[in-house]
Subunit: 272 residues, 2 copies
């Protein structure tokens, strides 16, 4: 990463180090106010659109963005705001829900592998294979002998992707427990959001500590040079959007992409 | 369709009638200038974003948009401008290229069926199963005994989708032969577009008449009440974008969607 990768440096989980969420402030805004952030965000999106076109034209490398968060952490809003302005032909979102019976009959990476990006594409995962070391662990959906092997399996899988031209960025949208409460309550006040309400989400809050611990282990064991985790301060949505857009732009800038040379001698083509 | 469906009425291929492209003016703008069209377009996109959210929340019906055009007809630009502003989580684009050997070993609708939209989604096809009665017919990729059966097979397939809650809109981006030439020439002048240049595209121009005839047969035989074809005047990109956005909005307005009732008694949920 170059010297302009400020956001990446701030949010990146250094590989091989034990990470604790209590050391990261979900309220961080680096002194920016909302208006300043919005201005920077708009510029970054314009630049991202150019970089996305170049990635698509070059047709060699790809990007995989993993989004994970606690309930109400802002995954949907991030997708709408940061990835919405990109070209839907090259930026594809997959939301992973409770596995179907067919998916469960395969190994946990099977359904993930099927939708990894092709050259030129940006794939965005709303939830991901990390659920298999998060909810699967916290709720005892599989025994420890199974989930404890998955960290290495994930690292091996992500290395395979990386060695084949996929740049992996994993974002944890970090909100505080109070902020989650505020957002869940808001859903109870807006009739156009009632369909999102599930009492189970409020029950899950009791497991907050277990989830945070499971996340910390995922960062500690699966933040690698080829697929780093970033912890994004996400209590302020406008700062969250800016940080993710900036890290994506910094990464794309670093790929040294070029427009491919013409496959034919353009001057020799007769047009009529 | 209601009385406000002006664009739909103007562009729709009436089912059961013989269609000739020479009767449709690719330069049509209904008297609008670019600035007026842009203003209407911006309003329509805002409305589309609301309607898309409602479609997603209701989670019952889906939309399938088919985009077909001659080379340089504007499929990519339409996707960027009209579908780009929608939420990539519910609006998914698939580009169909030359079939792979696996795809070719199945019937021609197999790869199409695999990516039809789920409830709540808008699927956009950049090219589609119609290539199998267009290029496949014009270039004799399969014998007439094969492709001539496909019109009925397509109608049966599209009816299946329609009867299962998918609203199908098929758009032909109608440009003139001169406009195509202008656009292909432009690619030869822009180094960032060289990678798109293929001398074969210029050769294909010789088959213009054959393609137009194949398209006319597709409109005549496959414009149905449940899956109509729309011929979009597309020499002016700004009018093309407006017409497609309006027809999509008119269609969504007609679905009488409502936000689902809460699955639980919201008042009984305890928040802490």
């Amino acid at each position: 990463m170059g010297k302009n990768n400020l956001y990446g440096k701030m949010c990146r989980c250094e590989p091989g180090v034990r990470h604790r969420l209590s050391r990261w402030d979900p309220d961080e805004t680096t002194g920016l106010d909302k208006e300043q952030a919005q201005e920077q965000f708009d510029k970054t999106i314009k630049r991202l659109q150019e970089l996305e076109f170049l990635l698509y034209a070059e047709n060699k490398q790809s990007v995989l963005v993993v989004l994970q968060a606690m309930d109400a952490g802002g995954k949907d809003g991030t997708i709408r705001n940061v990835f919405g302005p990109l070209n839907p032909q090259s930026c594809k979102v997959t939301a992973f829900k409770t596995p179907t019976s067919v998916e469960l009959s395969h190994d946990f990476l099977w359904r993930i592998h099927a939708v990894t990006p092709r050259p030129g594409e940006i794939a965005v995962f709303n939830r991901s294979h990390y659920e298999d070391v998060l909810i699967a662990r916290v709720k005892n959906l599989v025994p420890k002998t199974i989930w404890s092997k998955r960290y290495r399996q994930i690292n091996d899988f992500e290395r395979l992707l990386a060695e084949n031209g996929t740049h992996i960025l994993k974002f944890f949208l970090h909100i505080s427990r109070d902020e989650q409460l505020k957002r869940l309550k808001k859903r109870l006040e807006d009739p156009t959001r009632y369909w999102k309400v599930d009492p189970a989400d409020f029950e899950e809050r009791k497991l907050w500590g277990d989830y945070q611990k499971a996340y910390e282990d995922a960062f500690t064991r699966c933040s690698t040079d080829y697929a780093p985790w970033y912890i994004i301060p996400a209590n302020h949505k406008w700062f969250r959007n800016l940080a993710i857009a900036r890290i994506l732009a910094e990464t794309l800038e670093g790929l040294k992409m070029t427009f491919p040379a013409p496959k034919y001698d353009v001057k020799k083509i007769k047009v009529k």
